[in-house]
Symmetry: C2
Subunit: 336 residues, 2 copies
DNA sequence: TTGAAAGCGCTAACAC
DNA sequence: GTGTTAGCGCTTTCAA
């Protein structure tokens, strides 16, 4: 490994001068700078970032903590953060939290040990108090996909209720009145919030969402299938179905089709997230776009700014609003 | 930030002793060790890994370089590496190469600056020579999804030809004789290798793969659609279609169905990779499993071992073989 | 068993 | 404009 000393020796200058050249400080004579630069390329010198981080207490590293990288949603999140990291010349440290409070915290501490002071955290299990305490310690900590009032300016989140409301209104505008909902038993607030949006939109249209029209299951394809089967077995009648997310929606469509029910001919189906699958399934799924990649990129930027002492406007919030993506899984309700 | 000095001071010992306790070295008296441990927890001391890496020249960090994290395939790759990292208590440094030679190299050098000596690289554009030179410099460099003879013991790869062969034979065993192929213009060797497998399997059955039964396009859903349209327009007749990967297969199925052709009733379709989409599409896709997560986890292990001077058996290769996943997109060929 | 001290590669005063 | 120097937090001889 070639160090700054090697460069200094070969170029016949002090390490301080080399350091200045590396950092493009203006305080170096032209001839000297040229010589040093030449030596740097000749020797292939690259500053050791551990040493740099050690002395400067900042590592130009951004950490991302998500539950599970293999899920498309989190892959996109990571990709968004990576875009920012690349643009700012930061390194990206990834950690899976595996949906556990303790590993969430472990991951964060491990990041800290690396002098990684910009952190984007997707937390589901830690309670608000823990997070608030953590945020106090770590100026560059940003929470993604969750809103904590006391941390308003550190949360990058999505208006789930507005999204659910919007897609419900869309269904309403297509003449649907008998609407079933497949929600999830997912740990965070999202299911409740989205359900809330649906209920409100329905209420405003003078409709009530009957309890027995709601079925809940795990937030994946299988869950969607199971929920629809349960709905069908109960003898539930509906012309449209709102699923918690795309995965459940796809499962639901499959179950519907397996039961000989045409989608969207007899039943319209909508999802949430706009994952890749929504373009792969038949019919293509109408859904709400969850701009997670963009949000993550934004969050990473915010985390970096905060870690550098910028963007201290405590009152500013970072709320994203999902948008409707019309595809083929919704049709006009058949007049009854 | 609480440092080793703080702990030493509070515990009334030297930093060397604290270091020994942290490392579980046996050379510390019981009473002393207990006291130090107590102080460590009380103060919440965590060793700074930059300092540690600086002095020990090893950072317990594994780097992963892939083209694009937002693609499911690479997300799974990252997840596999993460599993190993977690198990070995390593950190995971991610870098996107964006499909470019230069950024591939940049990413690797940047990893090196971090004293990250175990690296898993998914390289597509760099030539073998560059890679061989790199591998010489970096003992812990492992190449994934590519085979370079001179680096046999450092490559973790998949037998694409065997996979293609296997799935072709599967189609053959279902009575298909008129087979079309949708291949891709992807940059690496995989398309050619898979095509090769198909051709060979067909040849062994006394069948020839006619040029005009092959169509090539970009390796995504859209490409699959386009290719099928082209095939259909040419008036190509086939009862089975082999797609380069799952994404193209799904696109192909959609195009087929849009053209009023029943899948698998009239045309059977198979893919490659076994991505999540293959369970989302209708009919569910029969495909070859590409165990990328497992492979990445394996590769990460190998990289760590190599970086620590182990596993020097230069003759050992690391070849994975894909397995058939039967779903619903293949039917018996209709007797003609 | 424990401590003192040197030094990893780099940056940032401070001096000249 | 350039060099000297003192650390950053930690590990690791070498002595005691």
């Amino acid at each position: 490994m070639v160090t700054i000393k090697d460069v200094a020796r070969v170029a016949g200058v002090s390490t301080a001068t080399v350091s200045r050249v590396v950092h493009d400080g203006g305080q170096v004579g032209d001839a000297c700078r040229a010589r040093v630069k030449k030596v740097i390329t000749e020797l292939g010198y690259r500053p050791n970032s551990n040493a740099r981080a050690l002395v400067s207490k900042s590592s130009e590293t951004i950490g991302v903590v998500t539950p599970k990288l293999s899920m498309t949603f989190f892959g996109c999140l990571a990709a968004g953060a990576e875009t920012t990291a690349r643009a700012k010349n930061f390194k990206l440290l990834m950690s899976n939290s595996l949906y556990e409070t303790q590993s969430e915290l472990d991951a964060i501490y491990s990041l800290r040990e690396h002098s990684c002071d910009a952190i984007v955290l997707h937390s589901e299990y830690s309670d608000e108090e823990t997070l608030i305490k953590l945020a106090k310690d770590i100026p560059g900590l940003v929470i993604i996909n969750r809103f904590i009032p006391q941390l308003a300016n550190r949360c990058v989140w999505l208006d789930n209720e507005a999204g659910a409301r919007k897609i419900t209104e869309y269904l309403l505008s297509h003449g649907h009145k008998d609407i079933a909902v497949v929600t999830s038993i997912y740990a965070n607030n999202d299911p409740a919030t989205r359900l809330n949006g649906v209920t409100k939109a329905l209420a405003e249209a003078g409709l009530e969402l009957a309890k027995h029209n709601i079925e809940s299951a795990t937030a994946n394809m299988r869950g969607g299938e199971d929920a629809v089967k349960a709905l069908l077995e109960k003898g539930c009648k509906f012309t449209a179905l709102i699923a918690y997310n795309d995965l459940m929606a796809v499962g639901a469509m499959n179950a519907l089709q397996d039961a000989g029910i045409d989608v969207p001919g007899e039943v319209s189906v909508v999802g949430f997230d706009n994952l890749y699958v929504s373009k792969a399934c038949r019919p293509n799924l109408t859904t709400m776009e969850y701009p997670i990649e963009e949000m993550a990129s934004y969050a990473a930027n915010l985390a970096i700014e905060l870690s550098q002492g910028g963007n201290q406007t405590a009152t500013k919030t970072h709320l994203f609003v999902p948008s409707l993506v019309e595809r083929q899984s919704v049709a006009l309700a058949r007049s009854t």
